[in-house]
């Protein structure tokens, strides 16, 4: 293991950001501008006029509905650009492009103040817990943080991740279920003695001045999801690439947005994920093949998800369309984010963050020394994958796209493998299967319409199914793992544990007991928690 860049130093990488900031900005601006200029020279369809017009058109559309004075000023500026485009010569178009690229790059970077960073890194977590908990003093906030840390369990291949972070730059890629994920992963990194990471947070989070202040200074950059044109996406990707090249550990949620169904994510967004490979390739082309990038598959496993009700509603409405009839809303839809910490405090084993073994940007495993290896454990030189038929290393977008798809497949397999199944997931699955077997209805939209009397199952049957499910998972590591706490319990205790959680956490009991029977109180939530096991196929022998 290299001694040249110990963890302590890695932790400080973000502190040096301010001195790197201008260099990063100008590199991003130059690279993106050059790429577009070369593209325009090679293809009339990519002419600068089209590129600029595309941006002006999208921005005009976006500001057309603006009512504020600044919005109206923006609108007239974009209209002005659209109007001038036809009269600009190539030099002027290039200058205009460069100005736009720099504008978006600055918007993404935001401001970073290292003094605030140091303050934020130490004080923000308690400050956040104060925001989210009904505590009256800073001291109580610290105490809350301490209890919360104990509710967050960090496990997995921590040594391998620490080695990778000593040897190269990390791309932490967690599953995404909750708005709390970025805060939880921040605490988890701290608990695991891993360095903080920079990540792209939705620009909407920056609208609250207090949160915005801290987000910036935690190393978050701003992603404006309203800007859907190619130029903005390219600036964003290049910014992420350059950050990685400069050694800033990064965090992406490859699932894109929060997973609505609670099924372990399979379709991953590859855009930002591919920037790890681009950063490695740039390093190789600059003669620094030793600068490694390591992707860390990470699962955030909540025993209970705060936003479960709204998430599953979204999912059912989206996929069911007319088949999903929204009933009178028995759930409160009031944002209850502030309840998160408080609820976490009363529910034991609230969240498990599991860091998987890092992989290289091509999806290869790595050995204990951080070298890429194939399935037989033979060391591979990852830069060999970038060698073209002519023998030289080059940047080939199509090739890298295929490699990144492969990386996405490896990641989604790792997500399943590293998923920690908790009592709530196992019991919801067992109950759901029992209802399906009993009613012979497997379609969720029909299940939702079943009368209350039809969704009652035997406690004994559920216990038997839970045991069977635990055995199946234990026998097939690729399906995930049962949480240590849950695997040590008898099926009956595990059922009671899940029932306690599922009857009290949500506004409406998900499951209810009545003697030796269990009644489904909220089928959609039962389905939501059950979905964490959806990758485990039907079991013919369980009925």
């Amino acid at each position: 293991m290299s001694q040249s860049r110990p963890v302590a130093e890695a932790e400080n990488r973000l502190v040096r950001f301010n001195s790197d900031r201008d260099a990063i900005l100008s590199l991003v601006t130059r690279r993106v501008t050059d790429r577009y200029v070369i593209g325009a020279e090679n293809s009339p369809d990519a002419s600068l006029e089209y590129v600029l017009n595309d941006v002006a058109y999208a921005e005009t559309q976006r500001h057309e509905r603006a009512s504020s004075a600044s919005g109206k000023r923006q609108l007239s500026r974009w209209r002005d650009l659209a109007g001038r485009l036809g009269r600009l010569n190539e030099v002027e178009k290039r200058a205009e492009l460069e100005r736009l690229v720099e504008h978006y790059a600055r918007d993404i970077v935001g401001n970073f103040n290292p003094r605030v960073y140091r303050f934020a890194n130490d004080v923000l977590p308690p400050a956040l817990s104060m925001l989210f908990t009904p505590v009256s003093s800073f001291r109580q906030g610290l105490a809350a943080l301490d209890s919360m840390s104990r509710r967050i369990q960090v496990e997995g291949e921590l040594e391998a991740v620490r080695t990778a972070c000593d040897l190269g730059t990390l791309v932490v890629t967690p599953t995404h279920s909750s708005n709390m994920d970025s805060i939880v992963i921040g605490l988890a990194l701290k608990l695991a003695r891993l360095p903080p990471v920079t990540y792209g947070a939705g620009k909407n989070l920056f609208s609250n001045p207090l949160i915005s202040y801290f987000m910036h200074n935690l190393g978050a950059y701003r992603v404006d999801r309203r800007l859907k044109f190619g130029l903005y996406k390219d600036v964003l990707k290049e910014y992420s690439t350059v950050l990685l090249e400069h050694g800033y550990h990064s965090l992406f949620f490859p699932g894109g947005t929060r997973c609505r169904s609670n099924v372990i994510e399979r379709r991953l967004k590859l855009g930002l994920l591919g920037t790890g490979l681009a950063a490695f390739r740039n390093g190789v082309m600059a003669g620094a093949a030793h600068r490694r990038i390591y992707v860390v598959p990470t699962t955030i496993n909540y025993r209970l998800v705060l936003e479960a009700e709204t998430l599953v509603e979204d999912y059912l409405a989206e996929t069911g369309k007319s088949r999903y009839i929204i009933e009178d809303d028995e759930f409160s839809r009031v944002g209850r984010i502030f309840e998160f910490v408080r609820k976490m405090l009363v529910h034991e084993g609230a969240v498990v963050i599991r860091f998987g073994r890092p992989i290289d940007p091509f999806g290869n495993a790595i050995d204990d020394a951080g070298e890429s290896i194939d399935r037989y454990g033979r060391r591979i030189d990852p830069s060999s994958y970038l060698v073209a038929a002519g023998g030289q290393v080059d940047a080939d977008e199509q090739r890298e796209g295929v490699y990144t798809r492969r990386l996405g497949e490896e990641l989604s397999a790792a997500f399943r493998r590293e998923t920690v199944l908790m009592s709530t997931h196992l019991v919801a699955r067992a109950v759901f299967d029992a209802v399906v077997d009993r009613t012979r209805v497997s379609d969720i939209y029909r299940l939702l319409r079943l009368p209350a009397s039809a969704v009652v199952v035997d406690r004994e049957d559920v216990c038997r199914r839970v045991d069977h499910l635990r055995q199946r998972v234990a026998a097939a590591p690729e399906l995930g793992r049962v949480e240590d706490r849950a695997s040590g319990m008898s099926a009956a205790d595990l059922l009671d544990d899940a029932l306690r959680a599922l009857t009290t956490y949500h506004t409406y009991p998900v499951l209810e007991t009545s003697g030796d029977r269990i009644k489904v109180g909220a089928m959609k939530l039962c389905y939501y928690y059950r979905n964490r096991t959806a990758h485990i196929g039907a079991d013919e022998g369980a009925a």
Binding site: D374, R375, R378, S384, A389, Q398, Y403, R405
Partner: protein, 334 residues
Amino acid sequence: MGDLMGEQPALGIVGAGAFGTALAALVGAAGHDVVLWSAAADVVDEINRERTSHARLPDVRLAERVRATVDPAELAARARFIVLAVSSTEARERARTLGQVVDGRHMLVHAIGALAGPDDARLSQVLDEETPARRIGALAGPALPADLAAGRFAAMVCASPFDEVTREARRLLNLPPTLRLYTSRDLPGVEMSATLSGAYSVAFGMADSLEMGPGPRAVLVTRVVAEAQRVVTAMGGESRTFTGLAGLGNLLVRTAPGTGDHAPGYQFGRALARGGASGERIPDSVRAVGAAVRLARRLHQRAPVLEAIARVIDGQARPSEAAAALSDTVALEE
């Protein structure tokens, strides 16, 4: 691994069977260097000394640029683009040996129209599992070794998700007027189409031996195309790929009169219908029947033609019974 020392890389071929030898002859004659790796020392010797390979492909003369070797390390050192042309039963073992000598720079393309045991894997998956190479593809189509050797018009398709693999395949193998090489990104589609066309050639062997006549034969063609498209799609390929060179192209050439020994599946089917195939060597295309049936079942795809061929091969039905049962099924759907 040794290096190429600045010279232009050769085309690598694994397997000195009829197809590998014919491809080596064609590419060598076009002025490219070829390294042919074979485990058969006598064949390697004959090629290097006599420039012939009488047992595998009589009447062919190999150019000086073709060098045969028993050493896989020599193949990996001299070639970056390697075509695997061995039978499906030895593919995994060959790939495993290859895995010890190739690295991430190599591009591997197989020309095997079958799936590999024990789990009916596509050959590209086998190459991916057994070697560190990632840039993998498949070569398929109606190019009979005898046609390639004799310089008659033939066409193949090279499929890979990597454009640079198909580009390199075209640079080395597109050799008109003899061989024209088309390209595709649909790797699973091409592999499954090649496998299925071999499997269905057995059915046409049986049908022709039973003298079913042109009408029923035409119906069989349409049912085969529909069924194959379902299986190809279920395997992640594009349905139209089956109607291209790897599927229909392969099938038509392997079921045409006069294809002789180079259509072993068809010949096997003919022999089966005559009741005399039991003692024969099992060709890849017959193994493909069993694999395709297992796959179709696993993917919940109806495949009555494949099921019928499998029943005859397993001795559970006579060819005439299978044909009758198939006609009944055909009547149910269009």
